[in-house]
């Protein structure tokens, strides 16, 4: 009985510790980049929220194709603990701004600029688009390679599952 209690306490402590560690060490919260308005955005501000981190480029047709459905996904979860952050890596602010002006859909989620492309190496991104879904503690729960129709059932269900307490 004593042994079982000890094991239970130990397991509980381990679970709590790993939870804290994953939040503290999350690659997400170490990121900080300017948006197209040149305001610095630190992703640690999204602690406690489910975050869909998307990597894209203006020269990548499938990335552009999925943008409108990503906007619809953002609108679907408006007011909930969910954020979409799209990082344009390796492109200048002018290139991204010009692209957004030409786009038929107005994007209300965060578009950040990683002009030096350091996140490509940090996240191991080798193809575009690539998206990462993080839970409220900043733990990576899904890697999505390639484009998606983000407001389809499968993707919506995935976000809903991540939002469940």
């Amino acid at each position: 009985m004593k042994n079982k209690l000890l094991t239970l306490c130990f397991s509980l402590a381990l679970m709590l510790t790993s939870g804290v560690a994953s939040a503290t060490n999350s690659p997400l919260y170490g990121l900080s980049f300017p948006n197209v308005d040149q305001q610095e955005i630190n992703l640690s501000q999204y602690k406690g929220k489910v975050v869909l981190l998307n990597f894209w480029a203006t020269w990548c047709p499938p990335c552009i194709k999925e943008m409108p459905s990503m906007q619809r996904l953002q609108e679907k979860f408006e007011g909930q603990d969910f954020e979409i952050v799209a990082i344009s890596a390796g492109e200048t602010q002018t290139a991204v701004e010009s692209f957004l002006m030409e786009l038929d859909t107005e994007l209300t989620f965060s578009i950040l600029l990683d002009e030096k492309g350091r996140t490509f190496n940090e996240f191991g991104v080798r193809g575009l688009p690539t998206s990462f879904l993080f839970d409220r503690k900043g733990k990576l729960i899904k890697v999505i390679s390639g484009s998606r129709e983000w407001d389809e059932d499968r993707e919506v269900n995935m976000i809903e599952a991540a939002l469940k307490p």
Binding site: W59, A89, G124, R126, L140, V143, S145
Partner: protein, 251 residues
């Protein structure tokens, strides 16, 4: 069917003013029990060729004549474009390059060399670079170098946050390599690891970045205006790469 294709290619060649002297022939080579179909581009008016370029295609797209290869033939090179997938009865897939018989590929290179003094260069596009790396070990052919076009030389498809492994041949490359890498690509962020693995076997490596174009731009169906312009002069990039290979050989 093959004869019809050959006829079409000949007709296209004859009626195309830009390629007035370039002949594109469909042929095949018998290496042991393997028949290797290939396209040969050559200038029928050139007395001597400047060299043989073995052009290895990627796994995507259709096997068809490349306008860039025609341009290279116009400039005095014989371009050989083997269809490895058909030769080895393999699907056009990412993994197929790992299943190709190195010995047959090596023997093919020797077989296609017209004489001892003709220089041979390899061109590997995307996963085609894996095939090129496998054949650069063909000592008898005395290959002068490899031009890698947006090379993809991983053993398996890389996954985020996972370490990558390269095909074994990458670490055994001993001929000079010039990488022509479009800048509109995620590969530019991983050039260091590609260069590093290629130099492991003693190869001298130079990388050239191509502005405003994407990987495989010379054969993309969704080609942009900037890519059309670059495609028209891409043969010059390749000729410059050949010159770099020769410089590296002399160093």
């Amino acid at each position: 069917m093959r004869h019809l294709l050959l006829l079409c290619l000949l007709a296209a060649t004859l009626f195309s003013p830009g390629y007035a002297h370039v002949l594109v022939e469909e042929d095949s080579a018998q290496i042991g029990e393997t028949e290797i179909p290939f396209l040969r581009y050559r200038d029928t008016t050139a007395p001597n060729s400047k060299g043989v370029l073995l052009w290895y295609e990627p796994h995507y797209g259709d096997f068809k004549a490349q306008p860039v290869a025609r341009r290279l033939a116009e400039h005095g090179f014989i371009v050989i474009q083997p269809n490895w997938f058909e030769a080895f009865f393999l699907p056009r897939s990412y993994a197929s390059f790992g299943e190709m018989d190195d010995q047959v590929m090596n023997d093919f290179v020797v077989h296609m060399k017209p004489n001892q003094s003709t220089p041979v260069y390899l061109i590997g596009a995307s996963r085609g670079a894996v095939a090129a790396l496998k054949t650069q070990t063909s000592r008898n052919a005395q290959i002068r170098g490899l031009i890698a076009l947006n090379p993809s030389i991983y053993k398996q498809k890389p996954e985020p946050f996972q370490p990558v492994t390269f095909v074994d041949a990458a670490a055994h490359c001993s001929v000079p390599v010039v990488i022509l890498q479009p800048k509109q690509s995620t590969r530019i962020w991983w050039m260091n690891e590609v260069e590093k693995i290629l130099t492991t076997g003693g190869a001298k490596v130079r990388s050239v970045f191509l502005e405003n174009v994407r990987d495989g731009f010379w054969q993309r169906p969704d080609i942009t205006q900037a890519e059309v312009a670059r495609k028209a002069v891409f043969h010059q990039d390749i000729i410059a790469a050949i010159n770099t290979l020769e410089t590296l050989n002399e160093e």
